[in-house]
């Protein structure tokens, strides 16, 4: 029997960390993820877990200590947000290229500037090419469930990559909702012990991590890293299947909500998918065939699967909660557009930017987006291919 509780997203992830009892957590506080290291250090102080908590002096140091601990053979994690992730930038790439299965609890917050503590995805989207697996949550339950699946994916011998478990700052991290928790022993059995084949603190088997690579090796190393990311695709699904057998909660690369017969779709990441689902429910009552593709796994990017899931819709609204400043849209807009083209799926696609720096995204906003797509298809209305939702004009 699962345990019914109510928790915020930060509490849920901290609880998952407690149940996993990892070996090392270096962390530096930053809003809105501060509660995670705070709660974990509370568990440590109370003797509930024996994780080595390292209070470091910056996020660059947090990720550097995580790299050292993971290379040494410890199951390692950290937590951060926004500029904290940006300060980890250099070391994120070191963690991924050294093939270290570190978990990072990311609480999405906008990058400065303007300085602002609220949610958007500019932090994790900025790190989208750092070589980390990225998994996003709609709510506290998914943040908890994703974190419990994280190490199984990261530590798989065919993968060995770090994984970022993302949830929306404040909206998910601080709002208290109902949640179903697993019993400690079930989590421990599911996650298992970390037994790396090779690690630095193994005196009988010396090794070096992160050596200099001359030109004759660097390109091959990067190809191998890309293969690991490819390998993670099937591992993510295998772990999700096993998790579903344990909990009844099913996960994949994305969730399809009324997408089966939809004419108009919205592709969206994170907590705003919940709002969009409400809009779909309302529109469905009036006979509108609308649906949601809620992306859970952004890295590796499931482009083929997305294109196949969207091939029967007339138009898709690709919703970006971050701005690329490329003069034409956000990261999801580019990647989904590219996936549709490569899979020869010829549908209308409009890239909407929403929710920047915590701007509300309402059911009404979502309904407007759906009706604009319908007008574009049925009335031939000219719709800008890249536009902002909820912007004062």
């Amino acid at each position: 029997m699962s345990i019914k509780e109510r928790m915020s997203g930060n509490e849920a992830v901290s609880y998952a960390i407690k149940q996993i009892n990892p070996d090392v957590m270096p962390a530096f506080p930053i809003t809105p993820s501060t509660e995670i290291p705070q709660m974990v250090s509370g568990y440590v102080a109370n003797g509930e877990i024996d994780t080595e908590f390292i209070a470091v002096e910056s996020e660059h140091s947090a990720m550097s200590a995580a790299v050292g601990a993971s290379a040494a053979g410890a199951r390692t994690l950290t937590a951060t947000s926004s500029c904290g992730l940006a300060l980890m930038w250099e070391v994120l790439h070191i963690a991924a290229s050294n093939r270290l299965p570190i978990a990072l609890a990311l609480v999405n917050r906008t990058l400065s500037g303007p300085i602002n503590i609220n949610c958007d995805h500019s932090d994790s989207m900025g790190a989208r090419d750092s070589g980390w697996i990225q998994i996003y949550a709609e709510n506290n339950q998914e943040a908890y469930d994703n974190f419990i699946q994280a190490y199984r994916i990261a530590e798989n011998k065919e993968v060995l990559l770090p994984v970022m478990i993302c949830q929306d700052g404040f909206i998910t991290s601080h709002a208290v909702e109902n949640i179903e928790l697993l019993e400690d022993e079930k989590v421990k059995a599911f996650v298992g012990e970390y037994e790396p084949e090779d690690f630095l603190l193994n005196p009988g088997k010396p090794m070096a991590v992160g050596p200099y690579a001359v030109t004759g090796y660097g390109m091959e190393a990067k190809k191998n890293q890309e293969i690991a990311m490819e390998n993670s695709r099937s591992v993510i699904l295998d772990v999700a299947r096993e998790f579903a057998a344990l909990t009844g909660r099913k996960y994949g690369y994305f969730e399809e909500y009324h997408l089966e017969d939809a004419e108009y779709a919205m592709l969206i990441i994170g907590s705003a998918a919940g709002t969009a689902k409400d809009a779909v429910d309302e529109l469905r009552k009036t006979g509108k065939k609308v649906g949601i593709l809620k992306l859970r796994v952004f890295r590796p990017f499931p482009g083929k699967e997305i294109a196949q899931a969207l091939k029967n819709v007339k138009a898709v609204a690709v919703m970006d909660r971050s701005e690329s400043y490329r003069g034409g849209g956000g990261p999801l807009g580019v990647e989904v557009g590219s996936a549709l083209f490569m899979e020869r799926v010829h549908i209308e696609a409009v890239n909407y930017i929403y929710g920047l720096a915590g701007r509300d995204f309402t059911v009404e906003n979502a309904i407007e987006v759906f009706s604009e797509m319908e007008a574009m298809v049925t009335e031939g209305r000219e719709v800008p291919q890249y536009q902002y939702v909820g912007l004062r004009k």
Binding site: M207, P211, E220, K223
Partner: protein, 100 residues
């Protein structure tokens, strides 16, 4: 994937390299001749040397071997020519000369 590193070369295909280019062996820095980087070299004047051994511990590349309480000749395979030994020598026994 623990691999015999001596079998990996610059012609190895990517599938034969280790993940993250981890090196599964100890003491491999011996194979890396940092002396090739040198643009100046230390010249020893043994008449001035008092065997005080201040030079040996400051060498960043352990290129000053010490045996039976006495320093020997520089290990030129690894000496980068940084000149720290010349700077610390109180007797002016080490002089840096430009060139390999």
């Amino acid at each position: 994937m623990r691999t015999d590193v001596t079998k990996i070369t610059e012609t190895s295909p990517y599938a034969e390299l280790t993940e993250g280019l981890k090196i599964y062996a100890g003491g491999t820095s011996k194979k890396f001749h940092t002396g090739e980087w040198r643009t100046s070299r230390p010249i020893m004047n043994w008449e001035k040397c008092k065997q005080c051994l201040l030079c040996a511990p400051v060498c960043p590349d352990s290129s000053i071997p010490v045996a039976d309480g006495k320093r020997g000749n520089f290990e030129m395979d690894y000496c980068k020519g940084c000149g720290i030994c010349a700077s610390v020598c109180p007797f002016g026994a080490i002089e840096m000369k430009e060139g390999q």
